[in-house]
């Protein structure tokens, strides 16, 4: 199954039967609610995951941009990001399929922690592949996974980040496919994963639509979501794709520059939709960051969760058809967005989300329209250290002073 030119199943033959089995399970359980699968999924999302999440009118952002800005609060989902929507769905599906074990890859650790939580909740053994570099720079998330009793297996290949972790998870799956389900973390990979993950994340836009209708009786003019692999963006857009009056903006990580260093095989950004070219990566034809030979480039973003050289094929297709507008925001603008939301609204966003917030500053009034919905894909607790370091490096305006540790006084009276 493809989305225009994109999608497909570019995987080893050994995995094809598992993908057929998964496609069958997807149709029966997810699309047809066989054995009440979707009912159970929705109930667990509610009581375990904390759904529905609020759609909050953001007073100060609205004032700043002269429009009504609504925030979809996925940062309040259990685990701190939208990732649980998908992880819970897939682990539950694996259980319905009679699988005995769960594997997953993780980059920044958000998908890994969500999967570990879901696996603990549903009593499934779980192993998470994580690049060695990421295990070292995302220690708290490694701890969280271990606390939920998941195995965490560092991957020592390549740069040791998300790309390598996905490749390694695919290798494990090629080995263990008969008993194991691979919980992929975004709308990427071979069919049916992009559709499956989209279906689980679509709850975001279903709620937005209903909540905004309750609050204002209307559809939004524009919907804004950050996009790395694209699960947050696809989940946020899903129920608006057929509404032509709603503009959809996918905000990518512009990193430090949109140029690429072909010589070193490095793209200092993760803007696959904006600067990528058609290619085949991790099981799907999509837009990827690659050199002219087709070797995949090392991507970069201040946000580990956006730091990926590919993007979901459906999102690539929606961009190609003009339905979704891709925009990219550089590290510095994202950091400024991080501080703006923290200070103005009392919400510390994930650095992924900060890209979407940063883009509001660059958007024209025509792009925003009268009602904007922006999904806060996750909370920023995981990013505190990075933000502190990067804020200093980038000299971001309006960042708070962090000299509280260097003073010795504390008393107010002399």
């Amino acid at each position: 199954e493809t989305f225009g030119r994109y999608g497909g199943q570019y995987v080893p033959e050994a995995l094809m039967p598992a993908l057929e089995e998964l496609t069958d399970a997807y149709r029966r359980y997810v699309l047809d609610n066989e054995d009440g699968f979707m009912d159970e999924f929705r109930e667990r999302l509610r009581t375990f995951g904390g759904r529905p999440t609020p759609l909050q009118h953001a007073e100060k952002l609205s004032e700043r941009y002269g429009t009504s800005v609504y925030l979809k609060r996925e940062d309040l989902v259990h685990g701190g990001a939208h990732k649980l929507n998908n992880a819970l769905g897939q682990v539950l599906l694996a259980k319905y399929m009679g699988k005995e074990r769960i594997i997953a890859e993780t980059g920044a650790g958000q998908h890994g922690t969500a999967t570990a939580m879901a696996a603990a909740h549903l009593d499934m053994p779980c192993e998470i592949y994580m690049g060695r570099t990421d295990t070292n720079r995302q220690r708290p998330n490694v701890f969280r996974m271990r606390l939920n009793d998941a195995e965490v297996t560092p991957v020592d290949v390549g740069r040791g980040t998300l790309k390598e972790a996905i490749s390694q998870a695919l290798r494990d799956w090629a080995h263990s496919v008969e008993t194991t389900h691979y919980v992929i973390g975004s709308v990427v990979g071979p069919h049916p994963f992009p559709q499956l993950v989209d279906e689980f994340q679509a709850v975001i836009s279903a709620e937005i639509r209903e909540q905004l209708h309750e609050q204002t009786g209307t559809l939004p003019n524009s919907v804004v979501a950050c996009a790395g692999g694209g699960s947050n963006a696809m989940g946020t857009f899903h129920h608006f794709v057929d509404e032509e009056s709603v503009d959809l903006y996918a905000i990518e990580a512009g990193g430090s520059s949109l140029d690429v260093d072909e010589e070193r095989g490095v793209a200092p950004n993760s803007a696959s939709l904006t600067t990528g070219t058609e290619g085949v990566l991790h099981g799907a034809r999509t837009r990827v960051l690659q050199d002219s030979d087709g070797q995949i480039m090392e991507s970069h973003s201040v946000s580990a969760g956006l730091d990926y050289a590919g993007v979901g094929p459906e999102l690539a297709h929606l961009v190609e058809t003009g339905r979704v507008t891709p925009e990219s925001v550089d590290d510095r603008t994202a950091l400024a967005g991080f501080h703006r939301l923290s200070q103005a609204e009392g919400i510390i966003p994930a650095l992924e989300t900060a890209h979407a917030v940063g883009w509001l500053e660059e958007a024209t009034p025509e792009q925003l329209g009268e009602q904007v919905v922006l999904t806060v894909s996750g909370r920023g607790d995981k990013d505190l250290e990075t933000v502190l370091e990067e804020t200093a490096t980038h000299d971001v305006p309006a960042a708070p002073e962090m000299d509280v540790f260097s003073t010795t006084g504390g008393d107010r009276n002399e």
């Binding site: 033959e13 094809m16 290798r171 090629a174 496919v177 030979d293 995949i296």
Partner: protein
């Protein structure tokens, strides 16, 4: 359809099909290594064109790919590599689909196949390209007389087997066990089962994944295989040579010796293919 050079190589006795990553660890020494395998008895040689995301490879070949890429291997250099080689056995290029797709003007697989055929490549194996996605490549291969070899996995269902064999040419790569490439000391029970399933096919069946000794090679041939594919066990020798700073000649000698061991194992158990059919 006339029988290809590759298929013909399986006629007289079960074939020995070694694999090396081209350019590992350098262009020049890799040429020597491939030629040593030919001297050691190779009937067909699989040459890896390295891709940055080798999702079907275990750590041994992953590291070979890293070494090769770091030494400057590209698709164009790979074709030069093939053109430089002084061997007279059929050559199979093993790579991932993105490199094939991007070659030339990224207009599909045709330019790659054309150039490969011109360089002297007789067949292609693309581990991340199942039959369902293979039509454009199949078409290009047919147009340029290049075989397209598919892998039959232990998990391949009977329903999948028929179209898979229909699209295959050259030989069928029988994956001896689940998992990724890598030398193993055990040979899966599933190998016999897989070979039995292929009895109706016109194509020779070569078994790969995990074979590292002449004894194993003999066992598999005795079980009915038309050939054995050995990769990681040979790449290990290259890696050891690299890590222990051996001369190219020393490593080439070791490879040739290993090839002979494997060829001997095959010969001891092997009969002509006509007797096996």
């Amino acid at each position: 359809m006339s029988e290809s050079d590759i298929t013909a190589a399986f006629e007289d006795r079960p074939a020995f099909v070694p694999y090396l990553t081209a350019g590992d660890p350098t262009f020049e020494s890799s040429i020597e290594y491939v030629e040593a395998l030919a001297r050691g008895g190779a009937d067909v040689i699989e040459l890896g064109l390295p891709f940055s995301e080798p999702i079907a490879e275990g750590p041994t070949i992953q590291q070979a790919i890293v070494r090769s890429l770091e030494s400057g291997m590209t698709p164009e250099r790979f074709f030069e590599f093939v053109e430089t080689l002084g061997v007279d056995v059929p050559l199979v290029c093993m790579t991932y689909y993105n490199l094939i797709y991007q070659y030339g003007d990224a207009e599909g697989p045709r330019p790659f196949v054309e150039r490969a055929a011109a360089a002297g490549i007789d067949g292609l194996i693309v581990p991340d390209l199942p039959v369902e996605e293979a039509t454009p490549l199949r078409t290009a291969c047919d147009a340029h007389g290049v075989d397209l070899i598919f892998i039959v996995a232990p998990t391949t269902t009977d329903e999948r087997l028929t179209p898979l064999l229909e699209h295959s040419s050259g030989y069928v790569y029988v994956q001896a066990r689940l998992g990724v490439t890598g030398a193993r000391s055990d040979v899966s029970d599933r190998t016999s089962y897989s070979l039995d399933r292929l009895e109706g096919s016109d194509l020779p069946a070569a078994v790969g994944f995990g074979i590292s000794t002449g004894e194993q090679a003999g066992e598999i041939v005795a079980a009915g295989a038309d050939g054995i594919i050995v990769g990681s066990a040979l790449v290990d020798i290259v890696a050891e040579g690299y890590e222990d700073d051996l001369t190219t000649e020393e490593t080439a000698e070791r490879l040739e010796a290993k090839a002979r061991e494997l060829t001997t194992g095959i010969i001891e158990q092997g009969r002509p293919r006509s007797e096996r059919l």
